[in-house]
Amino acid sequence: MGPCTRSAIAACTLLAAAVPLAAQGGGTPTAIVVSGPDVGRQAPDFTLPWASKDGVGPADAGYQLWRDRGKTVVIAFYPRDFTSGCTAEMRTFAEQYDSLFGPEVVVVGISTDSVETHARFASSLNLPFRLLSDPNQKVAAKYGSKGEGYARRTVYVVGPKGDVTYRNLQFNSLDPKHYQDLAGAVRSARGG
C-alpha cells in the first residue's frame, strides 16, 4: 500500500488537506443515540469557560445558562474550531446574524476546543458571540450531542422560560433549509 500505510492513514484522519473521505471510515451509516432534552423539556443548566473574539473570558466567570433566563438562547454544538464545516457554520452565523437571530438573542457555540483556540477562531471570523469549551463533552452528553472525540453538530433553541423550543440533532452546516428552520425557530421563541 506504499508509504501511506493503514496506520498512517489512521493518523491522517481529519486531515484538512486532500483525504478521500471514505478512507477515513466515512459513509458507514451509524445509529444515533438521542438522549438530549426534547422540545418542551427544560434545558439542562451548565457552566463552561468561554472565549470571544476579544480573548479568553475570566476563569472565575464561566458562561452560565441560567443567567440568560428571560432571553432566547441558541446553543450550537460543533466538532472542531478551524475545520471547514465548522468554519462555514460559524461564519454564516456571524455574517447572517441579524437575519438568523436578531437582537436580544444569545448565541453560544460549544466544542471540545480550549478557550485559547476558541479565542483565535472567534477572532479569525470576527464572531459576535461566545464560544464555550467543553473538553470532556460533559455538557454535550447532556444535550445528546456527544461524539467520538468531538461533539456532533447540533443546535438547540432555548426559550425565555428555559425550555427547549427547537432542536436539530443533524444540523448540516451546508444546508440552507437548516438555517431557515433555525431562523424560524428563533423568531417563534422570541414571540415574533
Partner: protein, 179 residues
Amino acid sequence: MRVGFPLRNLRRLGNSVCVAALTTGFLIRPAALPAQEAGIAVGARAPAVVVHDLDGNPVDIGRFIGKKPVLLEFWATWCERCEELLPRVRAAHAEFGDRVEFFGVNVAVNQTPDRVKRWVADNKPPFTTLYDDQGTSTRAYSAPTTSYVVVVDRAGKVAYTGTGGTQDISAVLRAVTDR
C-alpha cells in the same frame, strides 16, 4: 478497510497524502468523524437530483448519472479550499472534460445568486454552476463541507469522495475513465 478510491490508485496517491499530512499543519488528533460529517458512501448509487442553475432553471443531474462519469464539487465563494482546488479542477477538465460531466454545486449558504454570478463571471470555473438553494443535493450527497468532491462512475455509483484543496482530481478521473 473501506477506501474512497480503488487501492491501486490510493497507492499512487499515498505519497502526496502523507506529505500533505506532514506539511500542511492541519493534522489533528485521530478520531472518528461524526457520522453526519462523513459524506455519501463510496459504492452507493448516486442520487439523481434536480438542482437549480443560477437563473432558477431546473437541472436534472440524473440525466447524466449512469451514462457517463460525473464530478460534483460542493463549493462557495467564501471557501478558500475551493479556490485552492480550482486549478486542479481546471486541469482535470482540460484532460477529461469531453468524457466527464462537471458540476459545481454552490451550497447557497451565506451566498446570494448575484454574488455567485459575479464570482462565476470573474473566475470562469470549468463546471456547470448550480445553486442549491433548497439543499437538495447537499442532503442527497451528505455534503459535509465545501470543497467536497464526489465522482460518480459511468455505472452510476459513487467512486470517490474527498475534501480539501489538494485533491488529485486528475488521478481520480483517470481511474474512473480507465475502467
